[in-house]
Structure formats: structure tokens, C-alpha cells
């Protein structure tokens, strides 16, 4: 048996500190770069700005949220990560991605000092979900990749569905969209 040589982990760690927000979904804690977040709101406070969408191939997205001139696709994070159904209470609106994420709660802000790469043994969609992992209070916390919530083809599909829905709405009700509750339906 031997000690692994130091070159066995080249370039696999980033040690620059970075502010992260810790949030929970179905009892699982995740981290996200604080600068990737545009705003965090309760689901109740923004339900009036949400409209229902239905793209059967993308069940994790059931709402579209308008903030100013931008429409955000709302991803239910428990569905995205394959976690048990939960009751999301917060919406994390991402900066630069036209994506908002439903999460159960926001835990706190932390300074991430070490970002460890996902070991190469992982070979599922988690490689796109996470930028890596960090250690917080001796717990391993996955650091989510904001771009990993929706792929480009999924965004294109959702955009097409949104356009179609807007055209239908304008024909049926020139007054505007009907507000929809954002709680996950059981």
C-alpha cells in the first residue's frame, strides 16, 4: 500500500474564496454562488407574476415568472434533482440565465474556501448539475451550476411553449395573463 503521489490530483481544486448561499430542498443542502442570484422571494409574494406552462417533456417546469421585461422559467428543484416532493417556499431568481428555482428554504450565506471537483467516477447528469463540492462544517455540500438547471434545447422548448401560450392568451383574453399559484400540486 502506498501514499498517492501529489500529482494524482492536478488542478482539481480551486481555493479562491467565494460567497455562496446555502439552500435546502427536501432536507438536502446545496450551495450556489451568491453572485449568480438576482433575487430571492417567497413563492407567495410573486405568485401573481407567475403563469402556468405545460411542456410534458419537461415536468420540472410548470410556471413562468415575469420580472420586469424578462420571463424566467421556474424549475422545481426537487423534481430536477430527483428528490422527494417538497413544499417550496422560496424562489431563487438566477442572474443571466432566465431561470428561477423553487427551493424549500434559504439557510444562510457562507464563504466557500475550497471547491473540489466532482470525482470522475460520477458520470450521470450530476456532472452538469454541479460545479463541484465544498466542505461546510465537515459536511459535503454540492455547489450547483446555475446553467445546469435547464439545457439549451429545454430552454428552446420552453420559449416556444411560452410564445405559443402568449399568442393563445392574447386571442382569448386581451386583458392579460391569469395569476397562478406556485405551490407544487400533489
Amino acid at each position: 500500500m502506498k501514499i498517492a503521489p501529489s500529482e494524482s490530483r492536478p488542478g482539481r481544486r480551486a481555493s479562491r474564496s467565494e460567497p455562496v448561499i446555502l439552500f435546502s430542498i427536501s432536507g438536502q443542502t446545496f450551495a450556489i454562488n451568491a453572485n449568480a442570484i438576482q433575487e430571492i422571494r417567497t413563492t407567495d409574494s410573486i405568485s401573481a407574476a407567475a403563469a402556468e406552462v405545460s411542456v410534458p417533456q419537461i415536468p420540472k417546469v410548470r410556471h413562468r415568472l415575469r420580472r420586469g421585461r424578462t420571463a424566467f422559467h421556474v424549475v422545481n428543484a426537487s423534481v430536477h434533482f430527483g428528490l422527494p416532493a417538497s413544499r417550496p417556499a422560496q424562489v431563487v431568481v438566477l442572474r443571466n440565465y432566465r431561470i428561477a428555482v423553487l427551493v424549500d428554504s434559504i439557510d444562510r450565506m457562507e464563504t466557500m474556501k475550497l471547491l473540489m471537483a466532482l470525482p470522475p467516477g460520477f458520470c450521470g447528469p450530476e456532472r452538469a448539475w454541479y460545479r463541484g463540492m465544498t466542505l461546510i462544517s465537515e459536511n459535503i455540500v454540492p455547489v450547483v451550476n446555475p446553467a445546469g438547471f435547464l439545457t439549451e434545447p429545454e430552454l428552446a422548448q420552453l420559449d416556444a411553449a411560452a410564445t405559443q401560450a402568449a399568442e393563445t392568451e392574447s386571442l382569448a383574453d386581451p386583458g392579460g395573463a391569469v395569476p397562478m399559484p406556485m405551490e407544487r400540486r400533489e
Binding site: M1, S8, Q28, L83, F122, C123, E126, N139, I140, V141
Partner: protein, 159 residues
């Protein structure tokens, strides 16, 4: 006059795996460690059951039944931490072990060219230990084989 004879005797770590034993080259084994706190997070790699933190690195724990298609009959007592590499990148993994591990020196018998030992691409040969022929597993080939297997086959082998 003495003649130098090149031997191919190497060291192997033998570990119990379900009803049988397999061997890994000792040079790929980092350490044998007591059970540690298994942590988990969402992912879809079926043969990884969680991760450990060892020596400041994240070590995935490989699920025996998924990886080898063997049932784990006994509760694990240790983790065997082993190293594998792909495209020059080395990584560690932890394999839950129930029972005693042994260190043995033996000569590896490789199958003739073109033939796979045990019909499993990751078994690179066998070693004789106390009259028993024990398959020698190449961890890198094992992981690559599982990764390449279609999801349906992986699910079938896990059952």
C-alpha cells in the same frame, strides 16, 4: 554461476466479495479504513452509494452489488480505498468490505491473447492462493465497463 531469473510475482490485496474473493493489485490500494460517515447528495450514477472525506479529498463509495453484480451478504466493516486512473487523471474510490482482507504475493496468470478471463473484461487474470484461483480485477477497466453498459443492463445486473 548464478542466472538471474525474472519473476512476475506481485502483491495483491484479497477481499471478500459476496460468496467469493477477488484480488486487486496492491499498488492500486491506498488504505483499508474503518467505516466512516457516508454522506450523500443527489446524483444518478447507480454504482455510487455516497461519498467519504478522506485526507481532505472526496472519495466516492462504490456499491458492490451494482459494480460487480454480487450481493453483499454481510454488513460492511471496512472501506478499501483504491486508486484508479483514466486519461492520466487519478482518483480514489472506496469499496465496502465485509470480513478480512489479505495480502498475498503470487504470479498473475493472464488469459491467452484474445481471450477474456471469466468472460468479464475487467478480470485481467487470476492468482492461485491456497489452492483457490482468485480473479484479479482491474479497477479502471471495471469502472469503464460499468459506465459503458446500457442502463437497462446495469439495472438487470443489480437485481
Amino acid at each position: 554461476m548464478s542466472v538471474a531469473v525474472e519473476t512476475t510475482t506481485k502483491s495483491f490485496v484479497l477481499l471478500p466479495l459476496g460468496r467469493r474473493r477477488v484480488a486487486f493489485a496492491a499498488e492500486s490500494v491506498i488504505e483499508l479504513t474503518a467505516l466512516d460517515r457516508l454522506q450523500n447528495f443527489p446524483h444518478r450514477t447507480p454504482w455510487i452509494s455516497g461519498v467519504l472525506v478522506r485526507r481532505n479529498r472526496v472519495v466516492p463509495v462504490y456499491n458492490i452489488s451494482e459494480l460487480f453484480g454480487e450481493e453483499a451478504f454481510f454488513a460492511s466493516r471496512f472501506y478499501l480505498i483504491a486508486e484508479w486512473q483514466e486519461r492520466g487523471v487519478r482518483d480514489w474510490c472506496a469499496i465496502p468490505v465485509a470480513g478480512e482482507c489479505e495480502l498475498a504475493s503470487a504470479e498473475l496468470s493472464r488469459p491467452p491473447d484474445g481471450q477474456a478471463s471469466s468472460q468479464l473484461p475487467f478480470v485481467i487474470g487470476s492468482i492461485p492462493v491456497n489452492g483457490e484461483e482468485i480473479d484479479v480485477v482491474d479497477l479502471t477497466k471495471l469502472i469503464q465497463a460499468r459506465r459503458a453498459a446500457p442502463a437497462s443492463l446495469r439495472a438487470e445486473s443489480a437485481r
